[in-house]
C-alpha cells in the first residue's frame, strides 16, 4: 500500500480518498494525518532521528557518565533488596563466601592435601576464593542483567550499559564487606599488617575494570540467548580450577617434582590468565608468608639484610633491606593493567554496538 495518492494536510478534514491504487479487499483508509510531501523528507526537514538506531559513541559515554548516580543507586538498592527474604539478611553477604571457603578447605586442604608448598594455606585459600568469587559473581550476574531488568528497559530510556555496570558495582560492594572478614581471618592466622596491604587497592581497581569489561560482553551475549547463563557456571568453575585458587600454581611450576615443571609454556599461560594475575597480586599484597615463600624471592639488599639476622634461623623480613623482591611481580602488574584495559575497551564497544537492540522481542 503506497501513500502517494493521499493529498491532505494535517489539521484539515478531508473525505475518503478515492482512486487508491490498491485493489485489496480492505477499503482505502481515511487518513488525514498524512502530509503531501514524502515522509522521509519531512523527517529530515524537522531534524528527526530514526528510532532504534544506536547513539554516537561519544554521546553515549557522556550520557553514561551523567547517569553515574543512577548506577550507584541501582547497585545499593539491589544490594539491600537481595537478602530481604532471608532471616539472616545482610549476614549472608559474609556467610556465603565463608561457607564456600570452608567447603574448599575441607576438601582440598584436609582431604586431598593440596596445600603442598603453601605456608599459610587457610589465608591463601580464603583470599583466593574471595577474590575469584568477585569475578565469578560479576560474570554470572552480568549475563542475566538485561533479562532481569526488562520492565525497566522497556519503560524508560537510559544508556543500557548502566545495568551491567551496576551489577559489577553490587559485587564490588559485597567484596568489600567480605574483605573485612578476610582481614580478620588473615590476622588470626598470624599474618602481620604491613604497608603492602595498600597494594590491594590498585589490584582491586584493576580487577573491577576487568570485570566491567567482561560483564559488558556477557550482558550483550546473555541478552540474546539464555544459553549463555546456563553454560557460564561450568566455564567459570573450570577457570577456578586452573587459576590457582585452591593450590599454588607457582609451587606446581617451580618445585622440582611439580606437575607443571616440564610444561613451562602451559605454566606461564596459567599464571598470566586474568584471574590468576589478580589473585596473585592480592595474595602477595596481603600475605607476608606468600611473599617470603615465593620461589626466587630475594632480599631487597641481601648484604645489609644479613646484618639484621642476629639469631640463626630468624626470619629476616623486619628490616627494609630484607623485604623480599619477587622476580615476576612487576610483569604481573603489567598483565593486570593490560587485561583490564583490553577488557573494558572491547567490552564497551561491543555492548554499545547493540545498544538499540536491548529489550526487544
Amino acid at each position: 500500500m503506497t501513500k502517494q495518492g493521499r493529498v491532505s494536510a494535517p489539521g484539515q478534514l478531508s473525505g475518503p480518498v478515492t482512486g487508491g491504487d490498491s485493489a485489496t479487499a480492505m477499503a482505502e483508509p481515511e487518513n488525514t494525518l498524512l502530509p503531501a510531501e514524502p515522509l522521509r523528507d519531512l523527517a529530515s526537514r524537522y531534524g528527526l532521528k530514526q528510532t532504534a538506531v544506536r547513539p554516537p559513541l561519544r554521546g553515549y559515554a557522556a550520557e553514561l557518565w551523567q547517569r553515574r548516580h543512577f548506577i550507584s543507586g541501582f547497585a545499593t538498592a539491589r544490594n539491600v533488596a537481595m537478602y530481604t527474604e532471608a532471616r539472616l539478611g545482610q549476614l549472608w553477604q559474609v556467610l556465603t563466601p565463608l561457607l564456600n571457603a570452608g567447603v574448599y578447605y575441607l576438601i582440598f586442604g584436609l582431604l586431598l592435601g593440596t596445600n603442598r608448598g603453601v605456608p599459610n594455606y587457610v589465608s591463601f585459600l580464603v583470599t583466593g576464593i574471595f577474590v575469584f568469587n568477585f569475578t565469578q559473581r560479576a560474570f554470572i550476574t552480568s549475563s542475566q542483567v538485561i533479562r532481569d531488568t526488562l520492565p525497566l528497559i522497556r519503560a524508560l530510556y537510559f544508556p543500557r550499559a548502566c545495568l551491567p555496570l551496576g551489577y559489577v558495582l553490587i559485587e564490588l560492594q559485597q567484596l568489600i564487606l567480605s574483605f573485612a572478614v578476610l582481614f580478620v581471618i588473615v590476622l588470626i592466622s598470624g599474618e602481620p599488617i604491613t604497608l603492602y596491604w595498600l597494594l590491594i587497592i590498585p589490584a582491586l581497581i584493576l580487577q573491577t575494570v576487568f570485570n566491567v569489561g567482561c560483564g559488558l560482553i556477557l550482558a550483550r551475549w546473555g541478552s540474546g540467548f539464555d544459553d549463555v547463563s546456563q553454560l557460564l557456571p561450568f566455564i567459570v568453575r573450570t577457570w577456578l580450577y586452573v587459576s590457582g585458587v585452591l593450590f599454588s600454581l607457582q609451587a606446581l611450576t617451580l618445585t622440582l617434582h611439580g606437575k607443571l615443571s616440564h610444561h613451562h609454556h602451559l605454566a606461564y599461560l596459567l599464571q598470566i590468565n586474568p584471574a590468576a594475575v589478580y589473585i596473585t597480586l592480592i595474595r602477595n599484597a596481603l600475605l607476608r608468608s606468600e611473599r617470603d615463600a615465593a620461589p626466587g624471592a630475594q632480599p631487597y639488599n641481601a648484604a645489609k639484610c644479613h646484618l639484621y639476622q642476629v639469631f640463626p634461623g630468624q626470619k629476616p623480613t623486619y628490616s627494609a633491606y630484607c623485604h623480599p623482591v619477587l622476580p615476576g611481580i612487576p610483569e604481573l602488574w603489567l598483565w593486570g593493567v593490560g587485561w583490564a584495559v583490553v577488557a573494558v575497551v572491547i567490552g564497551f564497544l561491543f555492548f554499545w554496538r547493540a545498544e538499540a537492540r536491548y529489550g526487544r522481542g
Binding site: 500500500m1 503506497t2 501513500k3 494535517p10 489539521g11 478534514l13 480492505m26 483508509p29 481515511e30 487518513n31 488525514t32 494525518l33 498524512l34 502530509p35 515522509l39 522521509r40 519531512l42 523527517a43 524537522y46 531534524g47 528527526l48 532521528k49 530514526q50 528510532t51 532504534a52 550520557e63 551523567q66 547517569r67 548516580h69 543512577f70 543507586g73 541501582f74 538498592a77 539491589r78 533488596a81 530481604t84 531488568t149 520492565p151 525497566l152 522497556r154 519503560a155 524508560l156 530510556y157 537510559f158 548502566c162 538499540a356 537492540r357 529489550g359 526487544r360 522481542g361
Partner: protein, 261 residues
C-alpha cells in the same frame, strides 16, 4: 514529533507447537546453521503512515490484537521495523500494563531510581520525590516492595514516575485504565500539561471516553492497518462504535457540550 513512514513490524515467535525441542535436534540445527523451525512470523503492523506533531495527544483505538501495543513499542524503538521507519525528535517513555519497574525494590526506591534513570540530577530527584508519591496516591505502600502492589497501584506509580519529567514522547498503553476515577482525572490533567510542554502523547485505551476527553487526534487500526485517522475525534470514535456493533454517542456529546463552529 513522530513520523511513522510505511511501517511494517514482524514478530518472530519462538517455541510454537511443531518443535519437540530435543537436545539432539537442537544440536543438529546448530551444526546445519538453521533457524529454529518453530519460529512463526506474525505480521503485526502492515504499512502504517502518519505524522503526529508536538503538542498532539493521539488516541489509538482498535480491537484486541489489532496492533495497538505493537505500534507503541515500535515508536518507542523497542521493536525493529521490518520495512519503513519511525522518526522521532527524542526518546520515548512507554508506560505499559506490567506494573513494576524493579519489583523487588520498594516503591520509594523505584521512584528515586526511575528519576535518576531518566537523567534527573540527585537534587532534582529529591525535589520531585514527594510530588511523585503524592500524585501516585499509593500512600503508606510506598515503603513496600512493588511486588506487593495491586496492578492499579503499580501502574499509578509508574505513570507518576514517568510523567515527572517532560518527555519528548510519552506512550501510555492502557496504564490509566486500572486507576480509579480520581486518578484518571489527575492523569488527564497531567497529560494536558505534558502536551502544553510541547511533547507528543500517544494513548491506547479501551475506554473510548478517556480518548474522547484527552486526545485531539485519533487513529483507528484493524489487523495492523489504519482504518481511519484524523482529528475528527468524535466522528472516528462513533464510526468505530458502529463498526463493532454498538451505538454511536460521541458526536452527540460533542454537539451538546461544545457546539462546533
Amino acid at each position: 514529533m513522530v513520523v511513522v513512514d510505511d511501517l511494517h513490524v514482524v514478530y518472530r515467535v519462538y517455541g510454537s507447537n511443531s518443535d519437540k525441542g530435543t537436545a539432539a535436534s537442537a544440536l543438529l540445527r546448530m551444526i546445519r546453521r538453521q533457524r529454529r523451525p518453530s519460529i512463526r512470523e506474525v505480521h503485526a503492523i502492515r504499512g502504517m503512515s502518519f505524522v503526529a506533531y508536538r503538542g498532539d495527544a493521539v488516541g489509538v483505538i482498535g480491537r484486541n490484537g489489532s496492533g495497538k501495543s505493537t505500534l507503541l513499542r515500535a515508536i518507542a524503538g523497542l521493536l525493529p521495523a521490518e520495512e519503513g521507519a519511525v522518526y522521532t525528535d527524542g526518546h520515548a517513555a512507554l508506560l505499559g500494563v506490567n506494573a513494576a519497574l524493579l519489583e523487588d525494590l520498594t516503591g520509594e526506591r523505584n521512584v528515586v531510581l526511575g528519576c535518576l534513570a531518566m537523567g534527573m540530577s540527585t537534587q532534582e530527584t529529591k525535589e520531585a520525590k514527594p510530588r511523585i508519591v503524592e500524585f501516585s496516591g499509593v500512600g503508606d505502600f510506598i515503603n513496600l516492595p512493588m511486588k506487593a502492589y495491586s496492578t492499579g497501584m503499580g501502574s499509578r506509580l509508574r505513570f507518576a514516575i514517568a510523567s515527572a519529567k517532560s518527555h519528548d514522547i510519552l506512550l501510555v498503553d492502557e496504564a490509566l485504565a486500572t486507576g480509579d476515577a480520581e486518578f484518571q482525572r489527575k492523569s488527564h490533567d497531567r497529560i494536558d500539561e505534558l502536551r502544553a510542554q510541547a511533547g507528543t502523547v500517544f494513548l491506547v485505551a479501551h475506554q473510548l471516553s478517556e480518548i474522547y476527553e484527552t486526545c485531539n487526534r485519533v487513529i483507528w487500526i484493524e489487523k495492523g492497518q489504519i482504518v481511519k485517522a484524523g482529528d475528527d475525534v468524535p466522528g472516528i470514535l462513533d464510526d468505530y462504535l458502529v463498526a463493532s456493533g454498538r451505538d454511536p454517542r460521541f458526536r452527540d456529546l460533542a454537539t451538546a457540550t461544545a457546539p462546533p463552529d
